[in-house]
Symmetry: C2
Subunit: 359 residues, 2 copies
Amino acid sequence: MGLRVFGSVSLEYISSGVFTFVLFIGSTRTSTIPSISIAGASPEATLYTPALDAEYLVLGRPLTFNIIPVTPDGIPTPALLSRAALSLTGLPVLIVDTGSFIKPKVPYVSLPSSTVGEVISSGRALPEGTSARLYSEARLLGSMLGGHLDFIIGESIPGGTTTAMAIMEALGFNARGRVSSSSPYNPHSIKGRVVDEGLRSAGITKPEDDVFKVNDSVGDPLHISIAGFISGALERGSKIILAGGTQMCSVLAILRKLKVDTRGNLIVATTRWILEDKTADMQGLLSEISKKTPLVAANIDFKDSPYTGLRKYEEGYVKEGVGAGGLIVFSLIKGHSMDTVKNTIYREYERLASYGVNI
Amino acid sequence: MGLRVFGSVSLEYISSGVFTFVLFIGSTRTSTIPSISIAGASPEATLYTPALDAEYLVLGRPLTFNIIPVTPDGIPTPALLSRAALSLTGLPVLIVDTGSFIKPKVPYVSLPSSTVGEVISSGRALPEGTSARLYSEARLLGSMLGGHLDFIIGESIPGGTTTAMAIMEALGFNARGRVSSSSPYNPHSIKGRVVDEGLRSAGITKPEDDVFKVNDSVGDPLHISIAGFISGALERGSKIILAGGTQMCSVLAILRKLKVDTRGNLIVATTRWILEDKTADMQGLLSEISKKTPLVAANIDFKDSPYTGLRKYEEGYVKEGVGAGGLIVFSLIKGHSMDTVKNTIYREYERLASYGVNI
């Protein structure tokens, strides 16, 4: 059905879940370092992407500005794929703000300690104690909602692969050169420099086992919150589809250090473009951090897309984000054909042309 | 099974739902008018009750202050009953803030236009345009979450029967002397005076069909938001259990004026104490506003309670709130016996004695 499956996972087990899509949004000023992120039309614009993603995902149009998040070349946000997939499955959607630079003008859950992350090269990404509080608040949310409900968890945080790399490196995993990027020109050397400077500034010696210290120093508000949410929801018996690329491995790294058992109730779901990203190593990273976590990828391609903006995915642009891969995987498992999924995406792209995205 | 059912309702239809409990919280300064509300230890304390209710419901203890909301006599919040019932069914819980005077220190959904309501005798309960925005924002939330999920909707807003009366009266329904109270000494004359003054100050002539104008003038942030949420969720095909007493009739009055069809997918669920309240007229009010809406009441009594604070329910104190009636009804429909429900409440009361509630 267009899936690539690694590890032991029952599609029936997933299909029988009562899933809600939970989109975590957050900002780190790391995304404003030139060349780090193309998840926005300019380095400054990346700060607006999470709120605009949330608004567009829910409403089909952004509210804060009349702008769909695009790369500097005008390729639209992966939320386009997510929105198309959601229209097929009709999943409930909840937005959780962990520290978005601007707040979306749609209803969202606010974590009391939500805050924008600083540039991680400072070694002071978050005010001391914030990470532990975010984890605990998100954990409570996961436990409030968990049990009868299951969750597909997506993210929107430009700069997220860089902060994820820092988290994983600090915790003692080998993430150097292995995280992906929304650009085909993965800026590994800049990412490495920023991460190294952050670790040095914070005085962290690898491996540092205190995840909260690591995250306060070189992390961001989002990944620690997702880890907390998962911990609370798993404890209630929920199933989790962690929908994202290499950066979601930092969530698993945090959970592993905190000894949260995810076995049997969590899978990672992403896109073919992440798997095939020659500038990254999704499978290697996942296998190092959480060997037994199954990985499912939507075997989607846009080779036959009538739109340049989507054909660019085949050149390594965008690839994943806003839960796109996991939501497409879920649509396929629910019986929608790959043709239906792709045509729904193409129709949504066509609709978006009116916003000036790159056709 | 301990239920009193009025109207045509299939318990199997309810039992097959995938319910989440959504607690709407909000404040109106109307609750600070002396003698209007005993949903707090003092008129000023009523402003803190919604946030403390939310914290206690979710955590089993309040966070903002180490105080459980009580009446001036020390009888605890009905959230005690809600929490006990939730512990039996394990339902997911979501808090929605429509304008709580203080914000709960647990995760909640914030409506962008949330605001504390003013004293309604001013005729300016909310800034102009707020009601339409709250309705629309809550409607979006209902539509984001609705479809696969169903909802039990509860409220915490001291002074809510007074604002509800004003809304219903302004819309042309006869609510005078028919709304209930958390006190056995229902202050109808004070309520009537406050409502009349509000209508006069706002220059409203009954019936006024513009629900948003009515609510901006003499309403509150909560009931209009619940109406919006229901409208969005019903459109997606959700089932709704409106869990509360006479004030929930104001939600139905708003929906009726906005021509939202609730038939077949909405029931009201409450407690025996509301049905038997001689100072109010739940059935008459519901029948006038929404004749075909089924009403289900938990036939619960605390006559054999070992605790004074609960035996006071039999004298007409508290009666309902924080979704207590609907959550007990749901527990009974899910197969828990009345004895189990009552014993769970008694155990929770015992646990709370450590907070100095009235034993």
